[in-house]
Symmetry: C2
Subunit: 245 residues, 2 copies
């Protein structure tokens, strides 16, 4: 068996997220598995580095799949792109060690949340940013972001249910960048709970415009209560930028 590591880009606007769930076929995973199964003439399962929510985009999501036959990577990539819809594109494919697994071997992930703070919309970015026409104090956001760096129980910053599974994650860095009318929140961590990137971004955005103060972050960590964290920002502004191995 050959094992392939694939990097894929997608505009998540029209999809119900990465993972096949319930009976919707409208997921990125489903589109990719359909094309691969047809090309390899065999029902083929793929293993993604992580699930992205409905509407979330990816610049470089990673998955792996097994094949009984050795592939010509470049030709196979071009063929896949021919079969895939135009909002999903394979941008890299390489043979990986037999035991490589896109999720278990991932060391970190980078998510970027894009806030559009201008009072006029930008039609070309409308699907990839969240319109948040507020006056934002970047320094407040940066100061608050520092409180989140490191290993914490992020239960309060997620829609995950408290249970047996650990909700401890490590955030390596949070960068806040201002570029024209856009504020980008760049999150790098070893893993993200359900909705965690959007809730951390919502908390920082609300701190930036003075709706809540950074003390809430400490209370959220102490109590594990979702009510101290900020809002869950819409999916459209979020993009999975990179997966590290």
């Amino acid at each position: 068996m050959f094992n392939y590591k694939v990097t894929v880009q997608y505009d998540g606007t029209k999809y119900s997220g990465w993972q096949s769930q319930g009976n919707t076929q409208n997921t990125i995973q489903c589109k990719l598995e359909t094309v691969l199964s047809r090309m390899l003439d065999k029902k083929t399962e793929i293993f993604g580095a992580g699930r992205t929510d409905a509407g979330v985009h990816a610049k470089a999501q990673v998955f792996n799949f097994k094949s009984e036959i050795k592939l010509d990577e470049d030709a196979f990539m071009a063929d896949m792109n021919g079969f895939l819809p135009e909002d999903i594109a394979v941008i890299g494919i390489e043979e990986a060690p037999e035991r490589f697994h896109a999720r278990f071997n991932a060391k970190g992930k980078t998510y970027v949340y894009r806030l559009w703070t201008g009072d006029k919309p930008d039609v070309f970015l409308r699907k990839y940013v969240y319109a948040f026409p507020q006056s934002i104090d970047i320094n407040k956001m940066r100061s608050a972001a520092r409180l989140m760096i490191g290993k914490h129980d992020f239960l309060a910053f997620s829609s995950a249910k408290a249970g047996k599974k650990s909700t401890v994650r490590e955030i390596y860095s949070i960068e806040i960048m201002e570029e024209g009318d856009e504020v980008r929140i760049i999150l790098h961590g070893n893993g993200f709970l359900y909705n965690m990137a959007r809730i951390i971004s919502g908390t920082l955005a609300q701190i930036g415009c003075g709706a809540i103060d950074e003390g809430s972050i400490l209370k959220a960590f102490e109590t594990g209560s979702r009510s101290f964290a900020g809002v869950t920002l819409p999916a459209c502004g979020l993009v999975l930028e990179k997966v590290d191995y």
Copy 2:
């Protein structure tokens, strides 16, 4: 009567171009006139700086319209954006002299044609670039572009019909920029004939990849024959960047 100069941005993907034509209502002009007529409670005509073809985008198209009442520009702009579809956005509105006309007073226009030369698609740019996965010689394009600068009869570089109307236009500059997998052709001139920006871009792109040589440009000017110019590139890669007054 008050006269207003408006700057508007649009994603042309879904529209049949700027100008109301035949019996299609699916034009940018029609969408804008419908909203303005409703807001001013009076059938209102707008005068665009130029027509963009079906599928062509604009970062800053300009039009003017007359109003019997004096407007609060900022509030009016916000209201217009509330009524317009999300792929059309007003980004500026100001009172203009009574005789100001967006077309007759325009001194120049800048169009940008975006070629995507990478062998892998970019899903986020797919609607705003033309996929042209060729190896391109930028210096050949720059050298050929120099032949087009100045005042020429651009009949051969247009889909305009020879007739009474002058097909002489002046190109002030053509800049070719390379940025990662993208090549941008930036055209600045006093006016553009029907399809002219797309045919000039097609000619330069074909010269860049060696399909035709720059001598064709001289023959096209001499003969006025469309057959010596290059292909008409697809609308999706073209954007009206700016109108000068």
